[in-house]
């Protein structure tokens, strides 16, 4: 213990290192909103003055709005689909004990650790081999594979420790099975479900590789942005769009985390003994 505190005293540079680390990590991202309000077509210092015209230009951009609509459709569908599948998987993992449980959980989580481009290429091959048209549907299917592990992790932490006797207490107090689901099960796990929906939606919204390979003629926002980067004049508009997406992502993830923690507190509280 003593040796450890002494060693820690020997490295006063640690806070400085952490500060530099965060600077490298987040400074480039911070530049995005800065230049999106800059009254110049190039991203160079010094800044040329404040403007919101890049944001205004987005409003009339029908191609961009079409891409945003695509992203919304994909995001909502993917989040619903992966949360639904995640609920089934999380319930199986937290409630039951069965042969091959660990292996099943591992396989569901695997897409997280596989190189995304490999997953994208193999999905593309399968889609083409099956003779399917590339469309938003193929993007949805691909991204669902990718989002289920995230949804499941969030849901497992919410369901873990859901006390079986809560449901029994409800039956015991005269409630029916359906009423118990509505009045106890759903409210207790609702924060985890909403959190899973938000996380999946955010991931889908930002996802590029799968969308790029599987989207055909209907681009999602990240694919649209990638296409715009070829034109230097479009850059400020892309920065504005990127800023909006960044803000939306941060907001949704923060909200999701708040809900996830609340869900965890709820279910674990029920188990907590003094």
């Amino acid at each position: 213990m003593n040796a450890l505190t002494q060693r820690l005293r020997l490295i006063p540079l640690l806070p400085a290192y952490v500060a530099v680390y965060f600077l490298f990590l987040y400074l480039p991202i911070l530049l995005l909103p800065v230049f999106s309000f800059n009254n110049a077509a190039t991203t160079t210092f010094p800044l040329a003055g404040f403007t919101t015209k890049w944001y205004a230009s987005l409003v009339g951009n029908t191609v961009m709005l079409e891409a945003a609509r695509n992203s919304l459709v994909v995001g909502v569908t993917v989040s619903l689909l992966s949360t639904l599948l995640g609920i089934c998987a999380a319930r199986a993992i937290t409630r039951y004990r069965f042969r091959g449980q660990k292996a099943a959980a591992g396989l569901i989580m695997a897409p997280l650790f596989l190189p995304e481009i490999i997953v994208a290429v193999s999905l593309l091959m399968i889609v083409l081999a099956m003779g399917l048209e590339l469309s938003l549907l193929t993007v949805i299917l691909g991204q669902t594979v990718f989002c289920v592990p995230y949804a499941m992790s969030v849901l497992v932490s919410g369901f873990e420790g859901f006390d079986r006797s809560l449901e029994e207490a409800s039956y015991d107090l005269g409630e029916t099975a359906l009423g118990t689901f509505r009045r106890v099960t759903l409210p207790v796990v609702a924060p985890a479900i909403v959190s899973s929906l938000l996380v999946s939606f955010t991931i889908s919204l930002d996802e590029f590789i799968l969308a790029f390979f599987l989207s055909g003629t209907e681009p999602t926002l990240p694919v649209y942005i990638w296409g715009q980067l070829r034109f230097a004049a479009k850059l400020p508009g892309v920065l504005a769009l990127g800023t909006i997406m960044l803000a939306a992502s941060i907001l949704m993830l923060t909200f999701a985390e708040i809900l996830r923690r609340r869900a965890e507190r709820r279910t674990q509280m029920a188990l907590m003994l003094p």
């Binding site: 029994e168 107090l173 005269g174």
Partner: protein
């Protein structure tokens, strides 16, 4: 208290595959009785309680609640309510909403509902805490919410599954007193599952001791402590010195035995007594042996020496070796006269009362398959 039976359990068995969780259990519990199911973990006491509540379905037998066969009824249609071991307080509701949970289905007027919730909270001394969230409650308070939530339904029977096991010792003792007072006040049948013999002794009108899915004995706390039927019951209900004794003779209602160094002892003959090989097990509780000091004399004395000593504050537990006895004897002495200062190896004399011996029947062999 042979009053109107509230619960009648008739030849109930519960199999999990070939494992017998309950093995032909029959039991009658009276209206207004505080009844305890006592036994080690895995003895079937919780399975029996959950069968009464409707969460387990017995493989054979029938359970009558207030005269009505109940096995066909789901838990939500039985006139029983349960206090769960984990309390199962609904975490998304506050205290008043938890208590009102079951009332919602009764379609009461808002005033009536409010009054019943208020009365229930008063009953468990939680008045004014209705707006508290579940996570803001202490262990004892959560226990009271669970009680109020069940009692507000005015059940015919309240089922309690190890309700005090999660509380620390001091709070547990307080809650025992309160539980007993509450039961007397509401007057309904309470069935308590516990593995704590002191809890069962302190609270119950009657106790059923269970081993291996069967009921070993049903009796009042005093009867079951002083006259345990078998060696296992005696052992589970507290300390007991066991001795092998030779049967000397049988009279009407009595058996006389030769209890080794304790000499000839006459014992009440239990119902259905038989000593197949002429030997029986007899027992005497540690607190029925008494240390003799200096010039103290007693009609029945034995000499021995201290082999071990454990200090428990108000009492000292002594292990005393006696020549001619295979096992040393356990004794409990209050510390008023210096029993806590006796050195190991000290020569002592002890007094015993031959009437304090009980004759113990052999335990039936346990087979769960």
């Amino acid at each position: 208290m042979p009053e109107r039976p509230m619960i009648e359990i008739e030849n109930v068995s519960k199999f999990y595959g070939i494992y017998k969780a309950l093995d032909d259990v029959s039991l009658s519990i009276a209206e207004g009785e505080f009844f305890s199911l006592l036994g080690p973990s895995g003895c079937g006491k919780t399975t029996l309680l959950r069968s009464i509540a409707g969460f387990e379905t017995p493989t054979h037998g029938e359970i009558y609640i207030d005269g009505a066969p109940s096995l066909a009824l789901p838990p939500n249609r039985r006139p029983t309510n349960m206090v769960f071991q984990s309390y199962a307080i609904f975490p998304h509701l506050d205290v008043a909403e938890n208590v009102a949970y079951g009332l919602k289905r009764l379609k009461l007027t808002p005033q009536e509902e409010k009054k019943r919730v208020g009365d229930a909270l008063d009953q468990v001394r939680l008045s004014g805490l209705g707006q508290r969230k579940a996570h803001e409650l202490s262990g004892g308070q959560r226990q009271r919410v669970a009680l109020a939530r069940a009692l507000v339904m005015r059940p015919k029977v309240l089922l309690l599954d190890e309700p005090l096991s999660a509380l620390d010792k001091k709070l547990r003792e307080e809650m025992q007193v309160e539980l007993r007072t509450l039961q007397k006040a509401v007057g309904i049948t309470f069935i308590l599952v516990t593995h704590d013999q002191y809890e069962a002794l302190a609270l119950s009108d009657r106790i059923a001791v269970m081993f291996g899915g069967r009921i070993a004995q049903v009796a009042t706390p005093k009867e079951i402590y002083q006259h345990p039927r078998t060696r296992k019951v005696a052992d589970f209900l507290g300390g007991m010195n066991f001795l092998k004794a030779r049967v000397l003779g049988e009279q009407a209602g009595a058996v006389s035995v030769d209890a080794a160094r304790f000499g000839a002892v006459s014992l009440a003959k239990p119902h259905g007594f038989s000593a197949s090989d002429g030997h029986v097990t007899v027992g005497i509780r540690p607190e029925r042996l008494r240390l003799l000091w200096d010039d103290d004399r007693a009609p029945h004395e034995l000499a021995g020496r201290i082999e071990n000593r454990a200090y428990f504050g108000e009492v000292t537990h002594l292990t005393v070796g006696i020549d001619g006895l295979e096992e040393p004897l356990s004794m409990v002495e209050t510390n008023n006269y210096g029993a806590d200062d006796l050195p190991i190896g000290a020569e002592i004399r002890l007094a015993f009362d031959p009437d304090a011996f009980v004759l113990l029947a052999e335990d039936p062999p346990v087979s769960r398959v």
